[in-house]
Amino acid sequence: MLGLGIVNGLIVTMKNFFRKPFTISYPEQRVLQHPRFRGEEFTWYEERCTACASCAKFCPLGIIRIVTHPSGETPTEGDSYAIDAFDIDIGRCMFCGLCVEACPYDALFMGSGFEEAKPSRRNLVITVDHLRAADKRPSTWFRPQLEAQGYDPHKGTEVTWRDAGREHFLYHVPQRPEQESSTATEEGKP
């Protein structure tokens, strides 16, 4: 019968009319991302970083710039380079996460945010000071040790460099000159 298909279709539309809306109004309500979400605002632990520049070599776009000089402070403890610049140009970043995958010391993590809007492209470069000062809320992308803890960057507390690693912190030499010495001495005893 002509028109039956349209009536049948209208039944579906009416059913959906009484369903709960699937969408949310964004600025007021937010959907929390999965902990594995590859977001911006990279989390970087200076204590772990040796400035090997693996991340810069693996970046498909070459947007990570690392400048170092030999520090010569404590070479026996693996501290042979001091970092002058660690710039990530997230204006050109595509958040593929290959830099995080390349990092052999688990020093670089993807961030968990997605709302980095700046009035100028120049401000989109994350400098080393920005990285030092940023919240340590890493994404669990490619970091199974965080995922095993059930860590959620939107709910949990900030992760210190000791808790973020693949290996136990006791296997690393804990003290560093710029570290706060109180926690380092009580936790870092082998």
Binding site: I6, G9, T13, H34, P60, C96, E101
Partner: protein, 367 residues
Amino acid sequence: MPIRSEPVTVNVGPQHPSTHGVLRLRVTFDGEVILDMEPVFGYLHRGSEKLGEERTYTQVITLTDRLDYVASMTNNQAYVLAAEKLAGIQAPERGMYLRVIAAELQRVASHLVATGFLLNDLGAFATPLMYCFRERERILDLFEMLCGARITLSYMRVGGVFQDAPEDFWPALRKFMADMPHYLDEYEQLLTDNEILVTRTKGVSILNADHALNASVTGPVLRASGLPWDLRKIDPYEIYNRVQFDVPVGKAGDNYDRFKIRIDEMRQSLRIIEQCIDQIGPGPVRAIVPSLIRPPIGDAYGRIEGPKGELGFYLVSDGSIAPYRFKIRSPSLINLTVLRDILIGWKLADMIVTLGSIDINMGEVDR
């Protein structure tokens, strides 16, 4: 006095260079009837093939995300299979199952986009499109659990997938699998018997099987013409020889068959995912592969049945860390070439619908 009419050439699109899917159609009309048509493309050319020659085998994966941006997962899969063939790497079994689950989810998502936009072009403004996008959104949520991104996934690696699925992925996938057949029933109830849809699409822009073969058309467009050519059956890659599924074929090769075959293929994809969930076992997901792969000198062609047709990657290695030549056989470009022949004699309104039913993606056409 008789009314004299002359052919008029009209440029359809692109509206703006920054819009997505910039395709220009140079159409010659006689009144409303199409006399000639020529698709003009290249507005979205990014030189992906040349860029791939300057990147290592792992970095190229990020380029393949951007070819067909509604089906990134299958692009990854095709490239990764070609690179594995070239380097002689075998992915572990769990990795292959995860790749198949992800690729079939992506096929469902891509067909949902195709169906939704076909109906949007037909004039069913936004209602079926929104229904389709509601389900696609759930698939994208699953992808976010798998790999942390929704569109540009970079999930697969040469030798498997980058990491195992998180714990909460499996319950979410099962819930999606339980819901999706009902949604598909809903689409069928809404659409397949709808008189407006049937009148507008049945018998329109017929592509017969001989013509489709000669034009080397693949994918749902070819199967709608009645040829059961599916690389998952004919040349099984990964673990497709261990799962049972049917290849839906159409009869007439008109716009309606091209629409209907996508709904049927979504059901078959769900069947494949269900069997994969049953069969998947524990184990590693990624073979141990050096971070800079140096394949032996030679070439390899890896192909898969993508959502839009046969997607192939041809890689030539000169023994270095980057491919010497990186060629993409994209189904969208080749399917677009039949558009002129099946459109001549039809009207302007059918042109947009036929373009939607062929389901091209300009990111893949222009590369």
